[in-house]
């Protein structure tokens, strides 16, 4: 027994020395890597002399916003094609001013990698980190939830990689959580409220009681706040504002109390599949056939999209809301985009697709104009950039908060659709001046150019 033991320990001492030496060598190995990295680095993921450059498309491929994510990805792939000079060029033919030449970006061929945000902040950041650290992307874009957009935007600021936000409607994205490296083309909840106000007054008068059902995260909160501010300024009262979890699926437990609350307007601060489910259930519960306080019960969906209208089917008819863009618009930019998207995929693009396509183009154009991928230069080019021909009329990237300012569409669910895509009627194009606000009202700080 004791004999055996001494034998073991002798063996292990020698083994320990050997293994220890190996461990030390291994531990010092990463130093070589970091040394190498320092020498070449003037900014993260500098494409240098490489012949290609990569974008990272971080979109939800699962969860409540998966439909929007799929459409965003289609638009991004189309944008890559157009930037590389393939296909019919799309908005490259209509956008003004334009520096892109249809030969990639600064002569480098554009490639892309994709990731699934799962509409979760953790997963989205992990996926963005993979693209930045492993795939070496120069820009991240996408996201179909403001929670995710805010989380990824913060990460991109830390990492020094520009983030072009996709579908995010919360005031916080370019308000209290704005970042120097984050840019948003999409409109926001404040603009929805400001655009919707006069129409609501005209349609429903000033003596109304509103009941809010709100998706419980940053976007829902700010939209509820903005719509409340607008409607209360009209003289409406707010009966209740109930928060519902994202991806709840069944909203009946939230809709039943609406029936007995004395409210005569239901405002659904929901998006994606959540909005499809809550609207469908609200209609099934007979809310729209009801008379309350001597008035017709009304439902308002402040943020609308064609994909949602498609999902909600019949229930969408006559319901008011706002959108960033609609495929039926007749300006040159919209027509060019709808044409090439339709040729590629066989159906018209959603507003999520539109904003993502434009964002990819805007970044590429800014790099071309700045003549460099160096992020501070690109940011300075985008700040205060004025452009036209991208479907929203004259548009400006405001330098103070990186928010695009442009006209907003008030839409209504089409009563007599002529096709399965003709679901929304543009009720009114609200001019930019009516939805503009002071950049200071939401607070927040952009942070530094150099990180």
């Amino acid at each position: 027994m004791s004999d055996d033991k001494t034998n073991t320990s002798e063996l292990s001492r020698r083994g320990f020395m050997k293994v220890g030496a190996a461990a030390l060598t291994a531990a010092s190995m990463p130093m070589f890597f970091t040394k190498d990295a320092w020498a070449a680095k003037e900014f993260r993921n500098n494409p240098g002399n490489a012949g290609t450059v990569k974008f990272g498309f971080n979109v939800p491929q699962s969860g409540a916003y998966a439909d929007e994510g799929a459409d965003e990805l289609r638009a991004y792939k189309l944008a890559v094609k157009h930037i590389n000079g393939e296909g019919d060029g799309g908005m490259l033919n209509t956008m003004k001013p334009l520096s892109l030449k249809g030969n990639g970006i600064l002569g480098k061929k554009l490639e892309y990698v994709t990731g699934d945000t799962q509409t979760k902040s953790d997963a989205a950041r992990a996926s963005a980190k993979r693209m930045i650290e492993k795939d070496g992307v120069v820009m991240i874009t996408g996201g179909s939830s403001s929670g995710v957009a805010v989380a990824v935007q913060g990460l991109c600021q830390e990492m020094g990689v520009i983030f072009m936000a996709g579908l995010t409607h919360s005031n916080d994205t370019t308000g209290k959580d704005k970042r120097r490296y984050g840019f948003r083309h999409f409109f926001n909840a404040y603009m929805s409220g400001a655009a919707l106000g006069p129409v609501l007054k005209q349609e429903m008068g000033t003596e109304r009681k509103a009941y809010h059902l709100t998706a419980d995260y940053t976007w829902g909160w700010t939209q509820e706040e903005s719509i409340k501010n607008t409607t209360e300024a009209l003289g409406w009262k707010t009966t209740a504002a109930v928060r519902t979890p994202v991806g709840a699926g069944d909203f009946s437990q939230y809709i039943t109390p609406v029936l007995n609350s004395g409210a005569d307007v239901l405002i659904l601060n929901h998006y994606g599949k959540d909005m499809i489910n809550s609207l469908t259930q609200a209609v099934q519960f007979g809310l729209r056939d009801k008379q309350v306080n001597g008035k017709n019960f009304e439902i308002v969906v402040p943020l609308f999209s064609r994909l949602m209208a498609q999902g909600a089917g019949e229930n969408i008819k006559g319901i008011l809301g706002t959108t960033n863009w609609n495929w039926a618009l007749q300006d040159e930019g919209s027509k060019a985009f709808v044409k090439s998207f339709g040729q590629e995929y066989g159906f018209p693009p959603s507003m999520a697709a539109h904003t993502c396509y434009v964002q990819a183009l805007l970044y590429a154009n800014a790099v071309e104009q700045a003549g460099s991928f160096y992020p501070p230069e690109v940011i300075k080019t985008l700040e205060g950039f004025k452009f036209d021909g991208t479907g929203n009329g004259p548009t400006e990237y405001r330098a103070e908060d990186h928010q695009c300012f442009k006209d907003v569409l008030v839409v209504r669910g089409n009563q007599n659709p002529t096709s399965q895509f003709d679901l929304l009627n543009v009720e009114q194009i609200v001019p930019r001046s009516q939805v503009e606000y002071d950049a200071k009202i939401f607070g927040g700080e952009l942070g530094p150019y150099e990180v």
Partner: protein
């Protein structure tokens, strides 16, 4: 052959240290050698090793362990917000607070065993998740997740430069490779503690509880304190893992506490091999690898991989393989899990053991064959 060497703890630890610290090198060829994924390997390794102390040794299946992960993350982020960006207080506070919660939840849940214990822990976890998601929004910031802001007090830090500060270890930035090495060192310490527990009288008692608790009681043992200790230790491991998640990425979301996260660690442990030392670590690495690498493969990359095949065959292979990567990675993981559970109930570790036994048998056999042959000649 090398078994006596492997029985020595220090040799095991030295080998383990070498393997972990050199991970950036030997994981690069399979596309996993980048800091974020390496950090995840280390963090979820700690989580699974801690879970294994409870599940692997005592057989008590906690289905709500993610709650401690979440508590650890929230504590760490609050430590960054209120105290300092140094990671040491965050790690210590997160581990301790997770321990306190583990005492409470463990004390209540351990009144029952078997499926009832699992359901109780699951109930606690779901409760905490829903609290974090809605009621406790001022503390947790709900769905959006708790983040650092510019105007946090940070009482121990001097006035920061412009922009958000990053987490540091006495001035060393905790993102990228330094972050991985910090996690790796903690993983090595965590593994060492687990190793000592496995080979201690305490570990033996826990195993005895697993094999026959009633008999333990009859011999005059009060099993409750041992169970509670094991529960608290594994809760603290989870808290540590949660704090590391916040250190490498200062953001904490409620979804970390969801039942799917609790289920994931159960999968990791069973996949790797419950009750073995290395199994949980292997299991967590396999799952995280699948989640990050397989989920990002698309058809274009598959075509590159299978480019050596003739075109028609390549298209068929890619069409089939395409279903198992990208958003189909759950399918691959499910298949793998089924194969392991059906054919290797002891997890990947059992597979490795069988393979090495097979190889050794082959060598032994050929050796005996040779000796027999030589004997015949003589």
């Amino acid at each position: 052959m090398s078994m006596p060497l492997l029985r020595n703890d220090w040799v095991v630890m030295a080998l383990f240290t070498a393997v972990v610290l050199s991970a950036p090198i030997w994981l690069s060829p399979v596309g996993a050698g980048y800091p974020d994924l390496l950090q995840k390997f280390a963090i979820f390794g700690i989580f699974a090793i801690g879970f294994n102390i409870l599940f692997g040794l005592t057989g008590y299946l906690s289905f709500g362990h993610a709650v401690f992960l979440g508590i650890g993350s929230y504590t760490a982020v609050w430590s960054f917000k209120l105290l300092t960006m140094n990671v040491i207080p965050a790690v210590v506070l997160a581990t301790l607070l997770a321990g306190v919660f583990a005492v409470v939840i463990g004390f209540l849940s351990l009144r029952r065993s078997g499926i009832y214990f699992s359901i109780l822990t699951l109930a606690f976890a779901q409760m905490s998740y829903n609290l974090a998601y809605s009621v406790l929004t001022p503390i947790t910031n709900g769905e959006t997740g708790l983040q650092l802001t510019m105007d946090d007090p940070r009482v121990f830090d001097s006035a920061t430069t412009e922009g958000l500060p990053s987490t540091t270890l006495f001035g060393m930035d905790m993102s990228g490779y330094p972050g991985f090495y910090f996690c790796a060192v903690l993983l090595i310490i965590a593994f060492f503690i687990s190793l000592r527990i496995f080979r201690s009288p305490f570990g033996l008692k826990l195993r005895a509880i697993k094999s026959n608790q009633t008999r333990m009681r009859y011999t005059g043992f009060n099993t409750k304190p041992y169970l509670l200790t094991a529960f608290v230790i594994s809760g603290m491991y989870a808290g540590l893992a949660g704090s590391l998640m916040a250190i490498t990425d200062p953001l904490a979301g409620a979804e970390r506490m969801q039942w799917t996260a609790s289920g994931e660690v159960v999968l990791m442990t069973i996949l790797g091999g419950a009750g073995t030392l290395l199994g949980p670590l292997l299991g967590s690495s396999i799952i995280k690898y699948f989640e990050n690498i397989f989920s990002a493969l698309n058809d274009g990359q598959l075509h590159e991989i299978f480019a050596f095949l003739p075109d028609w065959l390549e298209n068929i292979v890619v069409a089939i393989a395409g279903e198992f990567v990208g958003d189909g990675w759950h399918l691959t993981l499910g298949l793998l899990f089924m194969i392991v559970v059906i054919f290797l109930p002891g997890g990947v570790v059992e597979g490795i053991r069988r393979a090495s036994a097979f190889v050794r048998n082959m060598f032994n056999k050929s050796a005996t064959d040779e000796s027999e042959l030589s004997a015949e000649k003589e």
